[in-house]
Symmetry: C2
């Protein structure tokens, strides 16, 4: 199968490219390299037929690329992944999270591409009660990232129903693993490497969320796309347990070998406006397909911290 992966040089995207090539697919990664990095894909060409195209997916050239590559399926992962930035500059998520999706599904319509994997987010639930299933409503996102992803889901649904597209929608939790581009682990490792005496944490450290290893996430997606979407199939995806920001900060301090560093916390329960301080959702639907994540939330976090610390050491 020919698979086009938008955001293919990003954290999840580059890992997805490797997995897809490993399964024997032909892969075209599209990325504007604003958050993604070419080095994340350094080993890709050795795994199978692969190309990386540097392009903003909102570009008018995307249609030409679709016409040339003729993908059977699109994995649309391109987005602004920096949730807190969305609040200070509202256009960021509008343009990079919502309008990218609009443009991708519209190019799919115009070029007759019929299968879409879409990366949505737990942030669409906003401050909803814990442990809700996919059937929960109304959805009240509290961040512009969550709003842009819900807006994108709305368009994915209508395009699927109107234009014969099958769409698998995955609401991601906090995803971790090697080659992070953003998030608490990424930030903490960098900040504590720069100033070994202290680590300042946004929020009071009690923010607690489910973290998922990127390979477990990709297992879930690759399993779910074996079932028909008729035409939209939406899945919450998360592993066992949740991890607090305090645990992450302390583990980063330990892993970097600076046990004397002072960790200072803010006063707010939210790390930033739009942050959901405590979240979990019901994952019965994806588990019913037989998905069994190998790592708990804590295990995924600890492994990701180790990988991030190792990467920081190599680059310094």
């Amino acid at each position: 199968m020919k698979v086009l992966v938008t955001g293919g040089a990003g954290f999840v995207g580059s890992r997805a490219v490797g997995r897809l090539l490993g399964l024997g697919h032909e892969v075209c990664a599209v990325d504007d390299l604003s958050l993604g990095r070419e080095e994340n894909l350094a080993g890709a060409a050795a795994l199978g037929p692969f190309e990386l195209v540097k392009m903003d997916v909102r570009s008018s050239e995307l249609e030409g690329l679709f016409a040339r590559f003729r993908p059977d399926r699109v994995w649309h992962l391109a987005a602004n992944s920096d949730i807190s930035k969305g609040t200070s500059e509202p256009k960021t998520d509008l343009e990079r999270t919502f309008l990218t999706t609009y443009h991708v599904v519209d190019v799919m319509r115009r070029t007759g591409v019929r299968e879409l994997v879409f990366s949505s987010t737990s942030a669409i639930y906003g401050d909803a009660p814990l442990d809700l299933p996919e059937t929960h409503g109304p959805l009240e996102p509290i961040s512009l990232y969550g709003a842009a992803k819900l807006a994108a889901e709305a368009y994915v649904s209508a395009y699927a129903h109107l234009f014969g597209i099958s769409a698998w929608v995955f609401r991601f939790p906090n995803v971790v693993g090697p080659n992070l581009t953003h998030g608490a682990i990424f930030d903490f490792v960098r900040r504590l490497s720069r100033d070994k005496t202290r680590l300042e944490v946004l929020g009071d450290g009690t923010q607690t969320k489910p973290y998922l290893d990127v390979d477990d996430l990709l297992d879930a997606i690759l399993l779910a796309v074996e079932r028909p979407a008729t035409p939209v199939a939406t899945y919450n995806v998360a592993g066992e347990g949740m991890t607090s920001v305090k645990v992450i900060a302390e583990r980063v301090r330990e892993a970097l070998g600076h046990p004397e560093a002072a960790i200072t916390y803010g006063k707010e329960s939210r790390g930033w406006p739009g942050d959901v301080p405590r979240f979990s959702y019901d994952t019965t639907k994806i588990r019913a397909l037989g998905w069994n994540p190998r790592r708990t939330s804590d295990e995924a976090v600890f492994a990701s911290i180790s990988a991030e610390v190792e990467r920081c050491r190599r680059s310094s």
Copy 2:
């Protein structure tokens, strides 16, 4: 209170302007007059302090208007109201239904306006089962109009939570009354007036939906905004019963006095791609506030047909 009404020259908007002026508010209507008509507001100035500004609400001049008029509350009603057109030209709803909303809430943020009434739609539910409450999910719109309105709801929610805005969101059914700008009644009266021998109906005529009189709708809104939104309050709004397209077609034929006209139906249960052929939702929440619509769906439709036939006669 100073109220700014976007889409204020439209069908619902112009009626809202009259009601708000009647309640003693100062009203600024903004409309690009693409669907709205100045004549709908002919009597407004006599009712109280009123101005009409001809402007696309996506214009960069909107912020200046907000800064000058300084509304206490915005009723954002501007949208593309032609659902079937959205499918043939996907950009229509993106630009006129979603991006208008994005721009309005962003100008509210920038100018410190704190209260928003937003007109959403039953179309966000797509082909969902009948009689669902507001708490239903996942929402899978099947039209680009429904997608754009759900996308707009997502942004209204995030802006409300992030920027101190109170938002009342009303999911409208098919709304009817005097001065229609679109819809089955509007189309049928015009078409049968032009060719008195036949009326061609899109779809097989079995499409059946709740219709609501515009004054009953405005009663619901004016009642609900008396309660805090904390910060988002979402209401399904519909009256008693539903009305089929076949009943509308036959009533129009009768009202125009052409009983001999042949009504021809299509073969599809949907009137057009994205049409939801049979729909009703749970309105317990708005009724619990004490709202009692005066007209049933059939009564609202019949009154609207009479008004539309009368308007057609006057203009010919």
